[in-house]
Assembly symmetry: C3
Homo-oligomer: 174 residues x 3
């Protein structure tokens, strides 16, 4: 979409500190039984949009492990992106782990990922990924499939630089 | 809509165990003062979509009673559908009762019922119905009016067989 | 939009008691350092739609102060509208304060404000404003900018008279 391209250009022109980390949440990737395709795909898109990726990590579908990684990364970078663990199976716990470490959630970001995603696949509506604020960092959950992760990120990434500026206290209305 | 018809066909071709129960939540229906039109309408649509209805029940707008019915039915069937009690009046407690017995909620399903419903009546936005997972079962809250119940179900029923497969552990991405 | 105009006309023909209060949530307005433009803009729109404004107040971005104002006003009027404090900065606490004093939330109203708002500005998706019920009153959070506040109110105000009737117990389906 041309409007989407225009929105993505907004990312490039931001003055915010666009440090980012990418976390792949997957038991099989963590065990080395499966190649992580989503993490690199997400990182590639972020680099293209002029985010600087400081780290990529792979973690099991374990709530405590996920929380620890998010706490550590949210201290070091402004934008922490996860991929995986957003589904409805019992072992999918990324949204719960993210909610546990966030100060507040931005429901509108999750709503937009789902509604945009459902244009490509109706099952995007089943994704439970959240977006939240922890300190001065944003944490965003993307689905586990490479295509779903990239499409979800594209649907909302234009909001991130402005959101980071707001977290820096750059507001217009008091 | 033709796209809707295509989506409904997806339901028919699913390999999942499509057992379903329909629960009418209504004080007046439970007292026998009003004919239950919504329960039969929902059951008829589910049958047409090749779900097998194992039971239909009528329960008062009482949170504990609703919870007990949902717990029992979610043990026996894969898809428990309620109709009624999703409004904003004090006695409308179906969403709270459902949330209380669910392991996790699928916000995207509720969002879609509201946004699709609002095309027919703006007041669909006031519906508070939720969709959640309890064990291997899905529980879905529909509004109390026959038309609203059927339209809301039609808006999301194509997601159910895939969701049930995911609950069975049939996932592509680990 | 013509459909929007039709919906706004629905407000005018309602039989509900359309008493309203407008609360501006802003540290700088409360200190008198900034002129409150949003409160008057919201009040003007409500008057045009035949709501009777009983009071306008200005309060700091302080959760306890906001809660106390909302509790008091929800006792006196049917529709309490706030403007400001819905963003993602640390001092934005209006949604949390509103949630704390509400019996239940109407997620569909917040969803619609965000999705409609994002047609004008993508950053509307970052708004965390909620709509909730307290007793027989509705409380609605609008963003802090005059334009954002008016646009958000226009997106959902047609739902208010019907919602107030439902809170009065005027339901069709039991």
């Amino acid at each position: 979409m041309s409007s989407s391209m225009a929105e993505l250009k907004m990312v490039e022109s931001s003055a915010a500190d666009l440090t980012a980390a990418v976390v792949t949440v997957s038991d099989s990737c963590a065990r080395g039984e499966r190649e992580d395709l989503s993490g690199p795909a997400v990182a590639q898109l972020l680099l293209k949009l002029h985010f600087s990726i400081t780290v990529r990590e792979v973690v099991s579908d374990d709530s405590i492990q996920i929380q620890n990684v998010l706490i550590r990364l949210a201290h070091d970078v402004r934008f922490v992106v996860t991929t995986g663990g957003t589904g409805i199976a019992v072992r999918d716990v990324t949204p719960e782990a993210t909610t546990a470490v966030c100060d507040r959630l931005l429901d509108g970001v999750a709503e937009r990922m789902r509604s945009e995603g459902s244009r490509n696949t109706p099952f995007a509506l089943l994704s439970r990924g959240v977006c939240g604020v922890r300190g001065r960092a944003l944490i965003l959950n993307l689905p586990g499939s490479p295509t779903g992760a990239v499409e979800s990120l594209e649907a909302v990434v234009h909001l991130i630089p402005h959101a980071l500026e707001l977290l820096d206290g750059k507001t217009e209305h008091g």
